[in-house]
């Protein structure tokens, strides 16, 4: 009883120490690695928003509010992403990233691709408001095209 009790206390104590150490580590993370984890979380959010639209298109029933919300997520998050590729946030940052060195060596093209995505996402917001499945499908393809063309150049294919 006492042994198991002190054991569980010890385990509890160690877990607390681990949690503390991890959070300290997180606070101490470099701006570059924070940029990487933030933009990765954002890309996931965008992927999820794309899937919302894709699922609606596949089922053939468009829910206008959901479609508009998803499109807005894409446009807003896309804008945030443009600022989340600071110098030094490539492979050298020590956090696993699929961003290729070309992002920084070919910056003007990369920024142009980002702008193209944002422009298409803005159009998608407008089109989603119509609730027209064909139009949303066409604009969804246009947005997806900008994802793909940028990824082809600037994201490791794995």
């Amino acid at each position: 009883m006492t042994l198991s009790r002190s054991l569980s206390l010890a385990v509890l104590g160690m877990s607390a120490a681990v949690v503390a150490a991890t959070s300290t580590f997180a606070i101490a993370a470099s701006p570059a690695s924070t940029a990487i984890t933030t933009r990765q979380a954002n890309f996931k959010k965008m992927g999820g928003a794309m899937k919302v639209l894709k699922d609606q298109l596949a089922s053939g029933t468009i829910s206008k509010p959901q479609a508009v919300a998803a499109a807005k997520t894409l446009a807003a998050t896309g804008r945030a992403q443009a600022g989340l590729f600071p110098n030094g946030s490539g492979a050298s940052a020590g956090v696993k990233t699929d961003a290729l060195p070309a992002v920084w060596s070919n910056r003007a093209v990369f920024d142009g691709q980002m702008k193209a995505f944002i422009a298409q996402a803005d159009k998608l917001v407008a089109v989603a408001g119509t609730g027209n499945a064909d139009a949303i499908g066409a604009q969804f393809k246009a947005v997806g095209g900008t994802c793909g063309s940028c990824h082809k150049q600037f994201r490791a294919d794995n």
Binding site: M46, G47, A58
Partner: protein, 222 residues
């Protein structure tokens, strides 16, 4: 008729085999090219093949039936013990070890197809026909599984090719020709059982395979 032959593989099994070879190669290629439209079509065709083959495992001729080629461990061990001998033996369909290789192959390719059906690409742009039944994260996990399982397929294919080469070099038995022509030479005085199969059942099996693949390809929305 000088050398007599006997049929060991019916036409549908041979067609299944070579179509599967071609489609797996094409699936790999189209996947690498990110040609997802064709990649999906190729996957549906493989699904149709798998469903047919499972059906044929119960309704086909003796060399196609699971009941005849999936053997007990004892038979497998006895077969492995005889592998070192250079004496060839009558290949009346799958050998006891090869039978399990067929089961493994069907299981792994089946897992590959199922994972693909639920897969979502990193952009949330391309996806399998059943991806809307799962979340984005689950779809991404399915895609990762889809990639991992491909290695298992490659390993089984490599093992298969090595085994066929082993038979050719060590036992001086050509296993490829029967898979093309359907027949093998018989030894002198050997009387092999004939291969009986029903074309009607074959058509039924093909129809089931195509039907299932089509239903899945629509995401079960008719």
């Amino acid at each position: 008729m000088a050398a007599s032959t006997t049929r060991i593989w019916d036409p549908t099994v041979r067609l299944f085999h070579w179509l599967l070879v071609a489609l797996i190669a094409f699936s790999w290629w189209s996947g690498e090219q990110h040609d997802m439209e064709r990649h999906r079509l190729s996957g549906y065709a493989i699904l149709a093949l798998l469903v047919f083959r499972v059906f044929w495992g119960f309704a086909g001729p003796r060399t196609a039936r699971f009941g005849s080629f999936v053997r007990a461990p004892g038979a497998v061990i006895a077969y492995i013990k005889g592998l070192g001998s250079r004496k060839s033996h009558a290949a009346n369909g799958h050998n006891p070890l090869g039978g399990w290789s067929v089961v493994a192959m069907l299981a792994v390719i089946g897992l590959m197809v199922v994972a693909g059906l639920f897969s979502v690409d990193v952009d949330g742009f391309e996806s399998g026909p059943l991806a809307d039944y799962v979340s984005f994260d689950q779809g991404r996990s399915a895609a990762q599984l889809h990639e991992t399982v491909f290695n298992a397929i490659l390993a089984l294919v490599a093992l298969h090719v090595v085994a066929v080469a082993f038979y050719l070099v060590w036992k001086r038995q050509n296993l490829v020709r029967p898979m093309i022509t359907g027949s093998r030479k018989t030894a002198e005085g050997e009387s092999a059982a004939d291969l009986r199969w029903s074309p009607v059942l074959a058509i039924v099996g093909i129809a089931i395979g195509v039907g299932v693949a089509w239903a899945v390809s629509t995401g079960f929305r008719f």
